[in-house]
């Protein structure tokens, strides 16, 4: 029978009534005739009884999380502090972009549209070689700023509304081209220092365009004509505001979580 001594593990499990039935009967029949195992079981039982008598430690203070009045909770922040400003920031960004388009339209919309359109197209085509995302396709509204993100739909809407409701169809299409190009130039100029990664290729495209532009008097005039310059300044400022708001709308939730 010595070879069949119960293991400490079996005796320990026996105390917890956690022995499988087959092991249980085997261990019990052995215990009935083995003093050594009986003694070990007795000692283990005493040990377990003492361990069970150890009073569980109690929390020295409350570990409750700060509740609604103190908005320090991550989910709370994302819910109330993050999501709403994000939507608000995006809406304001879109508004600024729309105002920028309006400013540009009021500056460049009427005078000498067809010539600029002619010169604008090849430039856009050349740019498409270096940067597909900034490329001007055949459509009048295509050359929207690549870095302006959410502004693009707003700009498209304004322009399409304008071309639909304003001038007669052929002139309207030409308008679109005129509007779109300065638009992209303005917002690129404003965005370049803010968003280097998105701006890399388009910037070179812009310089490409600029070098191609000199034939067009449209782009020499802003420096000479005072009323034009004011309009461009407004457009660039609005574009910058739109981009800052947009960037903020992306970083706001992250910063909120950080400050927890």
């Amino acid at each position: 029978m010595d070879a069949d001594h119960a293991t400490t593990e079996q005796l320990s499990a026996l105390i917890d009534a956690a022995l499988p039935p087959d092991e249980l009967s085997q261990v019990e029949s052995h215990l009935a005739q083995c003093e050594r195992c009986k003694k070990e079981l007795r000692e283990l039982r005493q040990t377990v009884a003492l361990l069970r008598a150890v009073p569980p430690a109690a929390a020295p203070r409350s570990f409750k999380l700060p509740s609604d009045d103190d908005r320090a909770e991550p989910p709370g922040l994302e819910r109330a502090g993050g999501a709403l400003p994000r939507g608000l920031l995006r809406a304001l960004s879109g508004l600024a972009a729309a105002l920028m388009i309006v400013a540009i339209i009021s500056e460049t919309g009427m005078p000498g549209a067809p010539p600029t359109a002619r010169f604008g197209y090849p430039g856009g085509g050349a740019a498409s070689g270096s940067s597909p995302s900034a490329a001007g396709s055949g459509a009048a509204l295509a050359p929207t700023p690549a870095g302006a993100g959410d502004q693009a739909p707003a700009a498209a809407k304004i322009q399409s509304q304008r071309s639909a409701s304003g001038a007669p169809p052929p002139a309207g299409a030409a308008d679109g081209v005129v509007d779109a190009n300065p638009d992209s130039r303005a917002s690129r100029g404003a965005a370049a220092p803010r968003e280097p990664p998105a701006m890399g290729p388009p910037t070179s495209a812009t310089t490409n365009e600029t070098t191609r532009r000199p034939p067009s008097d449209q782009f020499t005039s802003p420096t000479s004509g005072p009323p034009l310059a004011a309009g461009w300044l407004a457009a660039i400022g609005l574009g910058a505001v739109a981009i800052v708001l947009l960037v903020l709308s992306f970083t706001a939730p992250w910063r909120a979580r950080r400050t927890r």
Binding site: E43, A53, A57, P60, F63, L65, G76
Partner: protein, 193 residues
Amino acid sequence: MNNPLVVLSEERWIRAARQGDVDAFNRLVEAYQDIAFAVALRTTGHPDDAADATQEAFLDAFRSISRFRGGSFRAWLVRIVVNACYDLHRSARRRPALSLDGLLEASDAEPWTDGSSPDPEGVALTHETRAAIERALAALPDEQRLAIELVDVQGFSYEESAEALGCAVGTIRSRLARGRARVRDVLSMEGNL
């Protein structure tokens, strides 16, 4: 903890906490902060570290409560607590180990020498025996000490303990046996058995 009424309201709190309800989650904190702290104290061996880890664990639990897939909530929580303790350990904020007296003091909410033990077998620990037990436990490997804390002190089942410590039930069984045997050796050597 297996009281069906408790489980029922617990499920309600968990569901509300999943929706971001901090107050509902705080009901769970209230119910389990003693267990969480006790496990943290057994893991870190220092009350301040244990408190830090417990707070971290509850924050973490609130953040990730959507990943709780039912079963034993306290087992799920204990697992987070143990992980928080090891994270704390890694981050070099570890404090020097506490003296035995400090440990005894920290784990005592109320005096335990007066024999008012809730243990059904009515075992009252003398100060000497208690100190011997703490010494023996402190010398155990973490996994054996935690198995004893969960099964013997907190009354977890083998299954719950296995869930909490992320191992098999058989592993709990053997860790528990080895830990108990070592404690027995210390106690019998010092004439406490």
